[in-house]
């Protein structure tokens, strides 16, 4: 099964790294990828966005079209973001326990939120440990199944399920 995005832009065009095809691909995924990176590493979202696409250019020849393109793309972004977070604060990537990240509500996002409740949800989410933020974003914003999330983050299904439950519980505690 070839992913819809790959079918649409043409496998051959992408493999040959046709600039127009890659440009269309960037346009198609720009907001979703940016949102994901904003959730995971808001302070470096722009840099990681660029690095992700450069990595796509390097790797697209090796992309297996039977693999889901969304998972492949987000896995690249995940790996780059995790490297960034490790460099910044190695402890923040431990399985969350007492982990606390500085609360960074992305300015651009805050401005878009008209309702107070939405702002509260976003703000509370931004205070969660990065692994919870990522899991919640992939499940609810990207609408990925647990199996797809596991593929993106390279973790067992049970771990993803646990992060999702703990993330939701932590989010609700913060909102309340």
């Amino acid at each position: 099964m070839i992913t819809e995005a790959v079918m649409e832009f043409g496998e051959a065009r992408l493999r040959s790294r046709d600039p127009d095809a890659l440009g269309e691909l960037i346009a198609r995924y720009q907001h979703r990828l940016y949102r994901y990176l904003l959730r995971l590493a808001p302070e470096a979202a722009e840099d990681l966005f660029q690095q992700t696409w450069l990595r796509v250019v390097e790797s697209i020849r090796h992309y297996d079209p039977r693999r889901d393109f969304d998972s492949w793309l987000f896995a690249i972004a995940h790996n780059l973001a995790i490297d960034h977070l490790r460099r910044r604060a190695p402890a923040s990537l431990d399985e969350p326990g007492e982990d606390r990240l500085a609360a960074h509500a992305p300015d651009a996002l805050e401005r878009l939120l008209a309702e107070e409740r939405r702002a509260a949800v976003v703000s509370a989410m931004s205070e969660l440990p990065s692994l919870y933020r990522e899991t919640l974003s992939l499940r609810f914003e990207e609408d990925m199944k647990l199996e797809e999330i596991a593929e993106v983050v390279g973790a067992p299904l049970a771990t993803v399920k646990s992060r999702l439950r703990r993330g939701l519980e932590a989010l609700r505690r913060k909102i309340q």
């Binding site: 440009g23 907001h31 966005f49 660029q50 250019v57 996002l109 399920k161 439950r165 939701l168 519980e169």
Partner: protein
């Protein structure tokens, strides 16, 4: 009571649509008879709905434009590297051809028409040694030049 406690732990995942079929079936059966759990599930469903409905932050157009420019630069740089590789391969082929041709011409000059047929071992070994040293030296210089150029391209990306 134990089932009630067990179901409580599934409510958040149930609202997230992350239960396996057996857990989902147990959850449905329980909330049908337990108003507390049904209310708790609705509360989780509200939160799940809010998360799903968060607006998508728009990627800033200048950032996207910069990304496209960097991607295009990377593609151009790689095309340049492929061209360099092709040129180097042609030059290597040319160098070996010239090398062998020179050897043949040298034999003809030194030995006349029968020079090619009479191959002196010492003479040939000396020629081979000198030409190999020259070839390695040239290849080394070319590798250094190519490496510096690649590093310069890498820094520009």
């Amino acid at each position: 009571m134990r089932e009630h406690q067990s179901i409580r732990e599934l409510l958040a995942l149930g609202a997230a649509g992350a239960l396996d079929p057996d857990e989902e079936r147990r959850l449905r059966a329980h909330v049908a008879i337990c108003e507390d759990c049904a209310a708790e599930l609705r509360s989780w469903q509200v939160l799940a709905g809010e998360l799903s409905a968060l607006p998508v932050p728009q990627a800033p157009p200048p950032m996207v434009a910069r990304t496209r420019a960097r991607v295009e630069a990377a593609l151009r740089a790689e095309a340049g590297r492929r061209w360099d590789d092709a040129v180097l391969a042609c030059l290597a082929l040319l160098a070996w051809t010239v090398n062998l041709a020179t050897w043949a011409v040298w034999r003809l000059i030194a030995g006349g028409a029968t020079g090619l047929a009479v191959i002196g071992l010492t003479e040939s070994l000396m020629y081979l040694t000198v030409s190999t040293l020259v070839a390695w030296l040239t290849a080394g210089v070319a590798a250094v030049v190519a490496g510096q150029r690649r590093r310069a391209v890498g820094r520009s990306l």
